[in-house]
Symmetry: C2
């Protein structure tokens, strides 16, 4: 097998053969023979020519085969997981994992470290004193069997080819490719051993995919891939224009999640959590009502057990920033948008996210949105609150938030957060 | 400037700005900031989206600006050069350089080392005892002023960005791109400081571009680039199906060139040499008749002076292979093809060409075609003669030459070697 033949086949618009795919992924993952510049050239050719479904299915399988796969069939509960393409203020996993456990499922939510806007789920959980992300396989199984929910770091053994390929795509302008995104996400989730999977594919100004059409194509592609590989998969295409909930950061998002788990909290977070939970319950074949289990506080109890099992101490309270400042409305009217892109960037610059994998994140930095779309505000009223570890960061970030909260005259139509529900049957 | 912005602009089908082009080429050539995988990703995006004329012109200028340029305005003769895209048995430079010097021009033919089928022009010349390719700039100028013709190694100072980019393209499946080929060739030729340039763009089974349409597009692109940069440029699109002349190798091609310079030799070599020479004479504004200067032996005298000036000793005779074998016709009839691709590959495998830049080449290895298209042959008559340094190589190569000489019943139409003549006026 010759890497140039593989590159040129795709460059010229052809389909890669199963043998070419298996050889490329296994050889590149092994770090032999195939140079990064050759993989980059192939990635750009795939970006521009795409892959047909059977080709993408094999590519995904080859990524799975590059590492270990978990067998969770003995945990005594149906397994179901969720993956989100990521949004600003998206703390849904922290609520959904214990909620599904309360419904009777086992949820093996294994995450990587986040890059960009804000930290990932692990960074949020690590703002809880003592909590540790790294579990052994035995600890993972035990916790799934007893408590039902686990949020933990993904072991490097799952789809290691993806780790290498993703790092390459990140520096070569080949990230935003539907087949490459779909195979990256699905290889890790399929390797994780879950029976069922609900995907939250965001569309809008604050999402990775800004237009609904691309998000829907990505969602369909992933549902097909999961289904092809024996995982009961469906997807919700959801709106990501305004910040989700009120808090953007790490500890501040844990605090908001605890409110939702206690039966309170922002309506949009509850709406999305329940929509995803109902889909997961359906896929897992359970008979449970997530909305009432959320309202009852049953999920909160499980969250507390999950945290304790992983060494965390909620009783110690969550850390708070030493320095805060508020941004005020410059006119009166009705809030028409709380724009996720500038607010996400502000939280990142305040220290809540990282630019490189090695960077530390601040547990306390972030932004609290004091108003939500539709709220009436008066000129001079505080609309955003910034949290940081140093006052200099606050000063730097303030000018970037001009126009982040938009104020108008007209009431807005209230749009549902779920745009489309894609099931295996609807493909 | 951010390399991802440059990659993504081209990936999404846009034009690169002059600033992006200048920054990319100078930074990549300097070996800083831009990784090979990033340049590979951009090369594939250019391969698939192309470049518009002004973009390509700037790209070529940036490649020229990456190194030194020669100023040959003081050599006292009009300067003119030729570049060929390469064919099997193409020894035309060895004849054309002294022929144009005999016409009154100065020909600064600076070449790189060849890869592939057979060695390049330098490898052929180095089969002459004592001849050296490396000249100082002063030696180059002196020889151009006094003798008029120079064949020498290109200094690494000319368009160094091209050397780096070509090495990358070679391993990433991005060689066969018209803008990338055109800028690679033309940046080096423009940097060389020639006033005029004739391009020999081959089309056919033995050429880099097999179809006439692609070859014509490449030719037009290069004529435009040269003209844009103030070099009087034109191109001949020429046929490359059968071997050019009879000899394929290094010393064997020098021997054949000496025959042509002595007013003998194969008709196709003479036809192509004279066609290119007439174009070069026209571009250089000279009043000379290349055909008669070739027939008179005037060019041979200059070739001998060129060789002597660079330390070569033609009197020592050219080296000959220790081992030869002949391949015989298996039927009787008229030769319909002497296929350049298998014969070129055979010469390469016998040792005449190299797979890697560092590989040595054999001076004596090669193939002599004992028949030409249109010749009548009888079954059992020798049609090819193989030359090698070891008998084992001959044995290995013999089976690859099945069908290399095709024998039929019908006389063939005689086709002119020049398919199209593209001048700046005809663009």
């Amino acid at each position: 097998m010759n890497v140039l033949d593989v590159i040129m086949a795709k460059r010229d618009g052809g389909e890669l053969t199963p043998q070419q795919i298996d050889w490329f992924i296994s050889t590149y993952a092994a770090g032999e023979e195939i140079a990064d510049e050759q993989a980059a050239s192939l990635a750009m050719a795939i970006f521009l020519h795409g892959m047909v479904p059977q080709e993408l299915s094999r590519w995904t399988q080859a990524m799975i085969d590059s590492g270990a796969t978990l067998d969770l069939s003995d945990v005594g509960r149906p397994t179901v997981d969720k993956h989100s393409t990521g949004g600003v203020g998206d703390k849904i996993s922290l609520i959904l994992v214990p909620l599904l456990a309360a419904c009777g499922a086992a949820v093996p939510q294994l995450s990587g470290r986040g890059l960009g806007h804000t930290g990932g789920t692990l960074d949020k959980m690590e703002s809880i004193s003592g909590w540790r992300a790294d579990l052994t396989l035995t600890e993972l199984r035990n916790q799934l069997a007893t408590i039902g929910g686990v949020i933990a770091g993904a072991t490097g053994d799952l789809a290691p080819a993806d780790r290498k390929l993703y790092a390459l795509r990140d520096v070569t302008g080949t990230v935003e490719s539907i087949p490459l995104i779909a195979s990256s996400i699905m290889s890790k989730k399929i390797a994780e051993g879950t029976d069922a999977l609900t995907l939250d594919v965001k569309a809008g100004a604050g999402a990775f995919m800004s237009d609904v059409e691309s998000a829907t194509t990505l969602a369909r592609t992933m549902v097909r891939l999961g289904t092809d590989h024996g995982v009961a998969t469906s997807a919700l295409v959801t709106r990501m224009d305004d910040v989700l909930g009120r808090a953007v950061g790490n500890a501040v998002e844990v605090t908001e999640s605890l409110e939702v788990l206690a039966g309170r909290g922002p309506a949009d977070v509850i709406e999305l959590t329940v929509a995803l939970a109902e889909d997961m319950v359906r896929l897992a074949g359970l008979d449970a009502d997530p909305a009432s289990l959320l309202a009852s506080g049953a999920a909160l109890t499980i969250f507390e057990e999950m945290v304790e099992a992983q060494g965390g101490d909620l009783g110690a309270g969550l850390p708070v920033a030493e320095h805060t400042t508020q941004i005020k409305a410059t006119s009166s009217g009705l809030v028409s948008a709380v724009r996720s892109r500038p607010i996400g960037n502000a939280a990142w610059r305040l220290g809540a996210g990282r630019a490189r994998k090695e960077d530390p994140v601040s547990a306390t930095a972030g932004v609290i949105c004091l108003v939500a779309p539709g709220d009436e505000v008066e000129s001079g009223q505080p609309v955003l609150e910034l949290h940081a570890d140093t006052p200099a960061l606050l000063e730097q970030v303030i000018p970037t938030l001009d126009g982040a909260v938009q104020i108008g005259d007209e009431p807005l139509p209230s749009l549902p957060i779920v745009i489309e529900h894609i099931t295996a049957d609807s493909l």
